[in-house]
Symmetry: C2
């Protein structure tokens, strides 16, 4: 295991799974926000969705809020920035398009 001490690690790992990306997309678009709702839209069980949500939460890509007996999730954008910055730091060496991206991020 080689660590470069970044949050990007967790983000890339979280985004590597298709089901998890589908979950994140649904949460981000607001079309579903509880584990049960999400499971209804996907061909996997509620527990599978719950595991994905737990992982996404550890990666700080979603945020959980208890509301009575249900738990609603919402997406949080922060960590994506760090992941993109990592790509940029690698990509700048060969791709000018990525360098332009870095500029767009650093001065919003």
């Amino acid at each position: 295991m080689i660590s470069d001490g970044t949050q990007a690690q967790a983000v890339f790992a979280a985004l590597a799974d298709p089901t998890r990306r589908a979950v994140l997309r649904s949460v981000a678009s607001g079309e579903a926000s509880t584990a049960t709702e999400l499971a209804a839209h996907l061909p996997v069980s509620r527990q599978a969705v719950a595991k994905h949500l737990a992982l996404l939460e550890r990666a700080r890509l979603v945020d959980a809020q208890r509301a009575g007996r249900e738990v609603r999730f919402q997406a949080t954008p922060g960590p994506l920035g760090e992941a993109i910055e990592w790509m940029e730091s690698v990509g700048t060496q060969w791709d000018e398009r990525l360098a332009a991206l870095a500029r767009a991020i650093d001065k919003p």
Copy 2:
């Protein structure tokens, strides 16, 4: 398994492993370009590096060129763009900073 039919899948999976990111970073920076050289910089065996390179090559993040008895690798930037586009397509829903990113990508 839920597929949204993108190359981003392979890119995120490739970037999820720390050792693989270290390999990609070394290749991109030009500090090493063969499996043996890379293994000398990392605390893993040559075969482990070779496997990572094979996976990175399948994700089209690196390109292999045979030169005599050795194989030199170089990074190719293309697939990172698609991965960033995916992040943007999700992120735009909650983060204006990501939307600015999308604009920067769409009209270079």
